[in-house]
Amino acid sequence: MNDVPEDEPERLAAIRRYDVLDTPRDGAFDRITALAAKHFDVPIAIVSIVDRDRIWFKSHHGIDVEEIGRDPGLCASAILQDGPWVVEDAAVDPRTLANPLVAGELGLRFYAGAPLTTLDGHNLGTLCVIDQQPRQISDEETRTLSDMAAIVMDELELRLRSRQVIDRELELREQAESMARSLQASLLPPVLPAIEGAEVAALYRPASKSEVGGDFYDVFEVGNGCWALVIGDVSGKGADAAAVTALARHAVRTAFLTSTDPTEVLTTLNRAMFVGLEGTLPRHHCTVGVVLIHPEEEGFTATLAAAGHPPPLLARDGAVQECPEAGGPPVGWHGDATFGTAKLQLRPGDGLVLYTDGLSETRVDGRLLDTVGIAAALEGAQDESASQLVERLAATLKGEDVDVRDDAAALVMTVSGG
């Protein structure tokens, strides 16, 4: 007699799919074996899974064994059947005489096993009842055993389904996160450029891994040794906000091609947020901070302009102060917007910190970080590099009691040679 089912490769694949082998003890299956032992009045009941070269017990009532060899005669033979496999006296039955459980210490005499059959027809193992006395079993009792085996199978199916649902959800989440990551990456400069006499570094912390945030920053040369630092925050999240973010970032770059006046750049950007967008994108507002950096004999002149964006912070000689406010309304709100500028001399050792309100609106211990909290994080910094200042900011966003509800971004420039 052949000991291996014809569908053996598919059957083993099915066992892997149900992922049941070597899992911990489990109340649901233990209840079924206890019930089977009681119902059939036998000392031993087992839920077995017939693996490639062993028989592993998902549940074993009345016997302290986890697994046995795949010897023919009992479970290994039961899974070759379409229905229950019954051995009424194993000691005299030629099919089972040689099985170690029969010939060995256990002295098994009676065995009845019903296969655990999957929906697609593979027998994973059995629910079996065992006695050390020979016994007889009626047709009605074998039907009950099959019903109990079906309950075991229902339980396995249920677990498989829930695992599949969870796996699918994890997969979808991973897809969404990966899409958000690539989209986000396209909205931020992959590498910040090197500015002679200065260092720039940035911090970006999206509130959600699976949604694109609306914060952006950019650093680029505008000619004559001048540079633009830009930071912005588009209202909302997701694909629509990302489209507006891309528009804003590119509109600022394009506007700087024809003008190095930050107020003109913001006016152009504001116009770009309205023109031709009717009906194509939902209305989004965007706050933007622009700093034009002009190199001097020593240090830089910074021209600040903002559209509803908080003024940058200036870290100088270990102290931190807010830069003069150069205001205007957020872009994308109304067409009458006008913008002002403020000028600032940056000296060697100075650090200029542009940030979005996601950073200042971070809650630490339930309390708003606020501008004061950002300033506190930077206080005492003397002649630190831009990346060191960014590290100080990043440290405020770490810890269990930090609640970043919105995307947070910061763009830092330090003047070398302090």
């Binding site: 925050d233 209202s235 209305r283 507002h285 706050t287 509803g308 964006h309 908080p310 406010e325 205001g327 205007g328 309304p329 957020p330 709100w333 109304h334 009458d336 917007a337 309100d357 609106e361 211990d365 339930g366 309390r367 708003l368 509800r405 919105d406």
Partner: protein, 108 residues
């Protein structure tokens, strides 16, 4: 630590007063939006922010949208000035250049 949002609405002869107290942020904006009235053309919506303890950018967006809607739909928006810390945020976006600000609802 968080102050819950409280919204009170009363209507009198074409003037709708909406008193907003507590904290208006990402978490509470949906609550406010759910209670926002839709004024008819010619009516006035008075956003009374005197008891507003905090506003963040998402709260500001609500005000900007109300301004846009009021102009599109032909009703008037008036804001009763909040405390200094909240007023500072309104100033940052230049709300006063666009929306009428008053100190008391009785001025409307």
């Amino acid at each position: 630590m968080y102050e819950p949002l409280k919204v009170e609405l009363d209507r009198q002869d074409g003037t709708i007063r909406l008193a907003v107290a507590g904290e208006l942020d990402l978490a509470t904006v949906p609550e406010l939006e759910a209670q926002l009235p839709v004024p008819a053309p010619g009516e006035t919506l008075v956003m009374d922010l005197r008891e507003l303890a905090f506003i963040d950018s998402s709260g500001i967006r609500v005000l900007m949208r109300l301004d846009t809607d009021s102009r599109d739909q032909g009703w008037a928006l008036v804001v009763v000035r909040p405390r200094a810390n909240v007023q500072r945020v309104l100033d940052l976006v230049r709300l006063g250049e666009r929306v009428r600000l008053v100190d008391e609802p009785s001025e409307v």
